[in-house]
């Protein structure tokens, strides 16, 4: 039944204009909120770059921290770069395989009470203040070995990184469609092979992102390192001895009155920030490349 044209309600109501206005106002408000969230990030990044860039020169990356009477631009953080590398390197080795294995267990095998307990543990550790992880390692490993050490710091950092890797990896493993697992199982593949050859490669770039997130957390860690590695003004390459770290240098020099040391602290902050940024970008590039190859 056709309705006569005259009977139709007009499409152009007076309402649409005010709706359009409300829509615009609300959109503008949301945009403003999003922009506000960017402000701290931009301010921090600018501050660190502006204050830190003057500290950077070849000595900064190759020399040890300056003595009190050394002229500006003669000292550096070489020992801290090595120390952070050692501490984070070992922490990655300790936490990433364990974290991924835990995630695989939770996502692919974990049923019932054990999985619940493991997940609860990971969540709790994720929310644990890092100084507590440092304190526990200090009270145990450092006390027993009678020495602050890089491996004690690695252990404390890995306790903090493990739940990040676990939870992030579990999330991305869960995003792998069940249909892919079933498709592989239906080919007569054992479950472990389905996990190793199908599920993990499919989630690969997401796992990498989770690992980078954990590494970033580890790189920025200070309190746990302070209580376990202590810091060191000299070059140390032994895991058993007190060790310098970039974050500890920032922490101690930022509190000193000498402009030379404060400048070094800014330089160290810039180095740390750039490292995290480069790692994040690298992880993004890898995952985007992967997705482009597949899509």
């Amino acid at each position: 039944m056709a309705v006569a044209v005259a009977d139709r309600r007009p499409l152009a109501t007076g309402l649409s204009r005010s709706r359009w206005m409300k829509d615009r106002v609300f959109s503008a408000f949301l945009l403003l909120c999003a922009a506000l969230a960017l402000v701290p990030l931009v301010v921090i990044a600018m501050f660190v770059v502006v204050r830190g860039v003057s500290a950077l020169n070849i000595n900064f990356f190759t020399k040890l921290p300056p003595g009190p009477l050394d002229p500006p631009h003669t000292g550096g953080i070489a020992n801290a770069i090595v120390g952070t590398g050692m501490i984070i390197g070992l922490a990655v080795v300790l936490s990433v395989p364990l974290g991924i294995a835990t995630a695989i267990y939770l996502s692919e095998y974990g049923r019932g009470r054990i999985a619940t307990v493991v997940r609860f543990t990971a969540n709790t550790l994720l929310a644990t203040p890092s100084i507590i992880a440092g304190l526990v390692v200090a009270a145990t490993v450092v006390t027993w070995t009678h020495s602050f050490s890089a491996y004690a710091a690695s252990l404390a950092i890995s306790i903090l990184m493990w739940p990040v890797v676990t939870r992030a990896t579990e999330e991305v493993l869960r995003l792998v469609p069940q249909e892919l697992r079933e498709g592989a199982l239906a080919l007569g593949l054992p479950r472990w092979k389905v996990v190793v050859k199908i599920v993990i490669p499919t989630a690969g770039s997401g796992i990498l992102t989770g690992v980078m997130l954990a590494v970033s957390r580890g790189l920025g860690e200070t309190a746990a390192i302070l209580l376990t590695a202590l810091g060191n003004s000299y070059m140390n390459t032994s895991y058993g001895r007190p060790t310098a770290s970039i974050t500890l240098d920032i922490y101690s020099w930022a509190r000193q009155p000498q402009p030379v040391l404060q400048e070094l602290a800014w330089g160290a902050a810039l180095t740390l920030m750039t490292t995290v940024l480069v790692l994040s970008i690298a992880a993004r590039v890898v995952s985007i490349r992967r997705q482009r190859r597949l899509a």
Binding site: E179, E182, L187, G188
Partner: protein, 251 residues
Amino acid sequence: MTSLEVRQLDAWFGKAKVLKSIDVVAADRAVTAIIGPSGCGKSTLLRCMNRMHEEVRGARAEGEVLFGGQDVYAPDADPVEVRRQIGMVFQRPNPFPTMSVFDNAVAGLKLAGRFPKAELHDRAEKALRAAGLWEEVKDRLQQPGGRLSGGQQQRLCIARALAVEPQILLMDEPASALDPVSTLRIEELIAELKRDYTVIIVTHNMQQAARVSDSTLFMLYGEVVEFATTQKVFTNPEDRRTEDYVTGRFG
């Protein structure tokens, strides 16, 4: 003999019993269709035949599924081996997204390990030809499987299932996510496959069941209502409910 015989099969999801004393025989080198309304248990029955049902949390099955005289549910039967010999194609095409067309086709052989590399290409070609896909993909074997069209992806999945040389092929609504042209291709393919395989297909589409199958099983509420030749089920069913369903009075 590679017929498949289901005897007194019960299945559960948790406490809910979804299959009740199913008996059915899928003849060798023939197509058996399983039809019924949504939730009647037809997919579950199919998934019980190669022990995929138990992969769902809380799901279990009891009874016998005889495959060449051996019970798929025997205590010492290995589900992995069962699935190797009883292949499956799913409702939605599920090629492995990280793999090329070629690797998808021979995934079952490659991942099971110890398969001679030199033979992989022959097996891939054979499987892709059997799935009627070879001519379309032979020049882009190294492209990701996910870049094919939906219908091609489904035939890739059929090729993947055939490459491990199963004796029986289970198909769970293999064309329901596809357009009519792709559906026709799959149906033609099924007609060819039954020369070499025992095919069991679950379908929502009664015309499809009538077109492709030799025998038809009609299920309702987890029970077998009628199992007979497709001809009989669609033209002269014994049971009133079968007649109502195939004539479109419900379902």
